[in-house]
């Protein structure tokens, strides 16, 4: 990385990392829970639709819900057992609303379906790799949970010059990617090479924050001779954000409203690469992931290999339960994660961590007035004016907030984190964005209704016109017929006259 691109980076904050809590212990597998609650909406896009029913026996890795539509991902059984329910169950979603979920009672054997993996995955065609990634239900494991195959296919078509692998992991507490890169660097590199092949990217950069020297060393050793470059990036939040990582590694920015593909870049998470390797080398679909269990209230914070669908509470219990009263349970990192109001929500594909934070850790006294100190302006990695946007949103002037760049806000939370007045800035922005998109949806709906109405009117008009036209034609025809008749009659009479 050149110095210039480093200088180009803006804003950012240095939250207390607290990664040491969970970073040192190697990954260990969580014992099989009794029941798994496998959500059918674990990804961005349309929910998967169940292909099994209550009472069915399933094997680990068996498809239990197929993907639906262009942007979707299938879901697989995470252990062998019996389907005991297909219905709604509380999901780790900000609305707290239940989502369609398949409940599996484990039979204890944890028996895999028989797979027939290809002898050499690297010999597969790029299309075939993408297809298999899609069939394995792989989604972005960094948290965004966008179906990976969709990204691969889009990027293959638009062309990729640089494949960036995100090993930034800038969120405090989270160490699952760090641990993965330390414990399984070979598998991660193998997955990266498969992704590279799938999109024919000439260059591969793996960005890893320089606060993970062990991971950098392990990855470097594993990447030797493959052409994959391991690039340490400065430790700064939000370095793991796609936009910031691209900027740090290439100096390029994604144009506003655009996608990484617009500048020839594709970004995947290192965890995703691991899952791709599992899927292609062993045929195993995505049914488990590494989850960081941490926070000041957790007795023994660590990283666990967890089956998708395991209730969060089981993870805390395995880590020795709470040593302190948890003031807040969070799924994801503390900067962008979501509060879990129900500790029994299941782990999904995008769950990077579950945290039990103490009061002291979340530390948020009541908000004071803004002192216009512009600390938030300095912290914003996007170059926004959080204080001004919040002031406009507070008085209900969402339009002015949009003019100030509300839609460019990546909700990273840097501004809220540093505000000395403890103003919940991100809360304002999320609220405003929600309101705006609701309004936009309403407008679209209204427009659609209007269009429908117009179409209907037009149709009615056309029918009326057609009818009138038909009537006219009929009248003309009739007149013509009559005229013909008359003419015929006349001719006849003339003929008779002549004949007479």
């Amino acid at each position: 990385m050149n110095l210039l691109s480093r200088l180009k980076l803006r804003g950012g904050v240095h939250p207390v990392g607290r990664k040491e809590l969970s970073a040192e212990a190697p990954i260990c597998a969580l014992p099989l829970p009794e029941r798994l609650f496998i959500s059918l909406q674990q990804h961005i896009g349309a929910p998967a639709s169940a292909t099994v029913s209550v009472g069915d026996k399933v094997l680990k890795g068996q498809l239990i819900a197929g993907s639906q539509g262009m942007i979707s991902a299938p879901v697989h059984a995470a252990t062998s057992g019996r389907v005991v329910a297909v219905g709604d169950y509380p999901a780790p979603h900000p609305s707290g609303l239940p989502v369609p979920t398949i409940t599996i009672e484990a039979d204890g054997d944890d028996r895999w379906l028989d797979f027939d993996p290809p002898a050499d995955p690297m010999a597969l065609s790029p299309e075939e790799i993408a297809t298999r990634v899609g069939a394995a239900g792989i989604v972005g494991l960094g948290g965004a949970a966008f179906p990976s195959a969709v990204k691969l296919n889009l990027s293959r078509k638009s062309g990729v010059t640089t494949l960036i692998m995100n090993g930034g992991e800038c969120e405090p507490y989270l160490t699952c990617d760090d641990r993965l890169m330390r414990d399984h660097p070979g598998a991660v590199i193998a997955g990266i090479l498969l992704i590279q092949r799938a999109v024919a990217a000439p260059q591969v950069l793996v960005g890893i924050e320089d606060n993970k020297p062990e991971a950098i060393a392990a990855m470097r050793a594993a990447a030797a001779g493959t052409g994959v470059q391991i690039v340490p990036v400065p430790s700064m939040y939000p370095m793991g954000s796609e936009k910031q990582l691209i900027q740090a590694l290439t100096g390029k920015e994604i144009p506003a409203g655009g996608r990484a593909a617009d500048i020839g870049v594709l970004v995947h998470n290192v965890g995703t690469a691991y899952a791709v390797h599992e899927a292609l080398a062993f045929g195993r679909p995505l049914v488990r992931r590494i989850v960081t269990v941490s926070g000041g209230a957790v007795t023994v914070p660590r990283n666990l290999e967890v089956l998708i669908g395991t209730p969060a509470q089981a993870l805390f219990d395995f880590c020795g339960g709470y040593k302190d009263v948890p003031a807040r349970l969070v799924m994801g990192g503390p900067m962008m994660g979501q509060e879990m109001t129900n500790p029994n929500v299941p782990v999904i594909k995008g769950t990077s961590g579950v945290l039990a934070l103490t009061n002291q850790e979340i530390g948020r006294p009541s908000p004071a007035p803004c002192i216009r100190c512009s600390t938030c302006v300095r912290a914003c990695p996007v170059g926004l004016l959080p204080l001004e946007m919040a002031a406009h949103i507070r008085i209900g002037d969402l339009g002015a907030a949009v003019d100030l760049g509300l839609k460019d806000c990546i909700a990273c939370g840097s501004c809220s984190y540093v505000c000395p007045a403890h103003i919940p800035l991100v809360h304002y922005f999320n609220y405003a964005k929600g309101d705006l998109s609701a309004k936009e949806r309403a407008k679209l709906k209204q427009e659609a209704t209007k269009k429908l109405a117009e179409a209907r009117n037009e149709r009615m008009d056309r029918i009326a016109r057609d009818r009138a036209e038909a009537a006219r034609l009929r009248a003309v025809k009739k007149a013509a017929q009559e005229a013909a008749k008359k003419a015929a009659a006349e001719a006849k009479s003339q003929a008779t006259e002549v004949a007479a």
């Binding site: 405090p172 617009d262 004071a368 914003c380 001004e388 984190y417 809360h427």
Partner: protein, 354 residues
Amino acid sequence: MTTLTHSPHAHAPISIGRVMATVMAALVPTTLYGFWLYGWPAILLWSVAMASALLGEAFILRIQGRAVRPALLDGSGALTAWLLALSLPPFAPWWIAVVGALFAVVIAKQVFGGLGQNVFNPAMAARVMLLISFPVEMTLWAAPTPLTAAQAPGFMDALAITFGGGHWDAMASASLLGHVKTEFTRGVDLTHSFTGQFALADAAWGSRTGSLGETAALLILAGGIFLIARRIVTWHAPVAMLLGVAIPALIGHAVNPARFLDVWPHLLSGGVMLGAFFIATDPVTSPNTGAGQFVFGFGCGLLTWVIRSFGGYPEGVAFAVLLMNAAAPVIDRYVKPRIYGRTRKGAALPVKGG
């Protein structure tokens, strides 16, 4: 809005109270030096200013029906009074401090809507009001009589000076800028009036005639660097303000040394140092971006030089700051950061293929 908590679920260990406390800590060296240099009257004056600001703020919060404790505890009122006290002549009578402090917290701050809403820096607004209303008391300087010196006023003398309108011999002294201005209006040019008036070492260290806490340039600088290091303020406004004074001073003095003061006396006299590091960096009344703060600071410096050189008052920092305060919203309108993925004008960056 929903009652759901939103991310982030963590917060930096910072609060308004801590910010204000850090600024006050940075003021301690120059303040203690001022106390030592001017003795008991300075201590009394500072205490009177602090007490009046806090009582006045508590009173007005109460009659407005707002919570008194959080507003007082955030320390912003105390900081305002502190800065005002540092800008007063050390032997000024008690009521100057009372009137100034009350004006600062009540009129310049709470009437505008309280912390964060005021357009003008309260301490500077009060200083200007005092200068205009009480020009005599506000320019009655005292030569330094350190606490340890034999001729220093004792505690009882100090009570007389501050509260009793007592006179003290040392009070006849004039500040450097005042002296230059007076002589200049009398037609004496700088080459004569200035000789022997300015000693760089004295000015830097601060043992000279001036406001309570404005003379010790080096101590103020140290406090300022501390604030920048603690990331409470950025370098933009202070550096720009010093440049704003220094550049025209250099040019002016080079062109006409008999008419314009040299750069060092400009930088080290009066309120420039305190203004650069503690007033121009006031979060509330300065622009929001680094570039904007630079423009703001430069304007403060330039106007200070203009007022000192051409205006009727010997000192111009307070006026300059108020003028630039009024310009801050305009600066904010025009100086904005470039948004990621957009050009400076706000359009999306072009899509470069491949």
